[in-house]
């Protein structure tokens, strides 16, 4: 048992060394980890209850009492941002997981079987690619209600077509390789070939694009939240900005409830896209060999 762990650890160290050659990737990883710590330890780290209102101090500028100031109802902006990171990460990861799962499945099946199945699946993919995603998400969120679960499913369900095309292209070239032919000769079933032999070969690409997909998910969530389509029970970065604007932050010259949550959205989105950029080094073997 210990030898397995040791081997896994050794592999991890090896991969991490390759990954760490990319400074951008490391920066992305650090950003994600910082937000992860904030999200997990929110109840300990946050100095105030994010929903507690202090009516006597609306729009308090940043200072010792409130490091990032307060919003229109006297809520502490820093605490809201810390709790908001939970939502951003949950939506980012899970929506990306949903769309990665759908995209991978469709790409694998389409690429492996080809023929009529491929044609039908790719036509469906084209339709999803061309229909404007955000307006559709708005429409669906409006009808089904903007609960957190709905938002995740929606963003996930609309974000897969790009990945499906990538995976299909990979599978098309992979399935012509001799090892697949050998598997056929050995009598392996299609399902076995797809899930035990093709899937592991593209797992790196899948992982990297899942991380990359989180960027789109986080931005889509903040956009929907800005338009008032977010779960009213939770704190989302986009909603802090929208609420501040709606309650006259601009007239009062209160820049802090606008600037900080927006910076967090951008920072986390950058973090994910940097990390995914670094992961591509692991995925693409010829990039690796050069080092």
């Amino acid at each position: 048992m210990s030898s397995i762990i040791k081997r896994a650890l050794k592999k991890f160290v090896k991969y991490f060394r390759i990954f760490s050659a990319s400074k951008v990737g490391i920066a992305g990883l650090i950003i994600i980890i910082v937000f992860l710590i904030l999200a997990l330890g929110a109840s300990i780290i946050a100095p105030y209850d994010p929903k507690a209102t202090y009516v006597s101090r609306p729009f308090t500028p940043p200072g010792f009492k409130h490091l990032l100031g307060t919003d229109e109802a006297g809520r502490d902006v820093l605490s809201q941002i810390i709790y908001g990171s939970q939502v951003a990460l949950i939506v980012g990861f899970s929506a990306a997981a949903v769309s990665t799962a759908i995209g991978t499945l469709i790409g694998l099946i389409s690429g492996y079987y080809g023929g009529a199945i491929d044609t039908v699946l790719m036509r469906i993919t084209d339709i999803f690619l061309i229909i404007p995603m955000l307006p559709l998400a708005i429409l669906l969120a409006l009808f089904f209600g903007p609960s957190l679960l709905n938002i995740i499913v929606l963003i996930g369900f609309l974000g897969w077509p790009g990945l499906a095309r990538q995976i299909r292209a990979q599978v098309l070239s992979l399935k012509e390789l001799p090892f697949v032919e050998a598997l056929h000769a050995l009598g392996a079933s299609s399902r076995r070939i797809i899930f035990f032999h093709l899937l592991p070969n593209i797992s790196g690409l899948i992982f990297a694009s899942m991380i990359g997909g989180s960027v789109g998910a986080i931005l889509a969530e903040s956009g929907l939240a800005f338009l008032g389509l977010s779960d009213p029970r939770i704190i989302s970065w986009g909603r802090i900005v929208a609420r501040a604007i709606g309650s006259g932050a601009l007239v009062r010259g209160a820049w802090w409830p606008l600037v900080f949550p927006g910076l967090c959205i951008a920072l986390l989105a950058c973090g994910f896209s940097f990390f995914s950029h670094g992961l591509m080094l692991l995925v693409s073997p010829f990039l690796r060999e050069r080092r």
Partner: protein, 332 residues
Amino acid sequence: MWRFIVKRLIQLFFVFIIALTVIFIIPRLLPGNPAQFYITQVGTTVPMSEYAVQVREEIMKRYGLTKSYAEQFVLYLINTFQGYLGVSMTYFPRTVVELILSRLPWTLAIMIPARILTFLLGYFIGTIAAWKPGRKLDVVIQFAGLSTIAFPIFWVGALMLMVFSYYIPIFPRGGSLTPGVVHKDIWSFLVDATYHAALPIITLTIFSFFGEALIMRNNMLMVLREDYILTAFAKGLSERTVMFKHAARNALLPLVTGLFAGLGYLIVGSIFIETIFAYPGVGYLFNQAILLRDYPLVQGLFILITAITLISNFIADLLYRLLDPRVRLFED
């Protein structure tokens, strides 16, 4: 060429029908019939019950809700293709199409200049950046081009408004015209409209031009490797001639088609920008429709945005074929 056009048009029509079908199905998936669904909403947004009854009758008429789903669907398709998208709930007697058309000029007034500015700036700055790769300008373009995608557009808009209308009050604080001012002639109207449109246009341009410049830069770098560039230099032509007359012309192709392919994104961006600047265009209308839960209006706007996206994609494809003979040859 004609075969391509016909094939593509059939495909577009098919996609459009599917989008319409989705809109048809969604309200029917929910419990109760759509009219009831609308009415409960109307009850909350329009307090007068007389209105509610009128709206309800209009909706019943529009969807033929007493008939079967199949008949309803056919009626709905016929209505849509005849340009009838129903009646707004918040602006009751006015139809959705009427409302959209009345707001469209404002949206075009900021979108078209923003698109043209983005294109021109992207073209020039991208070309110059590619000429000396690794220089300061090039690094800035690469970094900004990749990172602007990470910034939410509504946030960029809010910051611009805060800085240039509140802290340094150069631009108006929103709207499309100075309220209460009667314009004597067309010129004073144009000046006022331009003054109000300036900041939204600048914001949209800043948000999208770095990405455009990056595309131009990358295309330039590809084109510069071609043999004919070397030939042009060997002929003794000046750097500027080679750069703009030989290289940039070919690198420009994706930008030209992008003029149309990007229209759909621009409209989505306008939802946020117009909301921030309280600019009374289609995007602002969309935001109001969402806030007031005006379902027919949201649906109508979705149909409009889908149609524009599909048509502009089609034009982009067509342009690419017209401008780049290689694509046509490859097809044949």
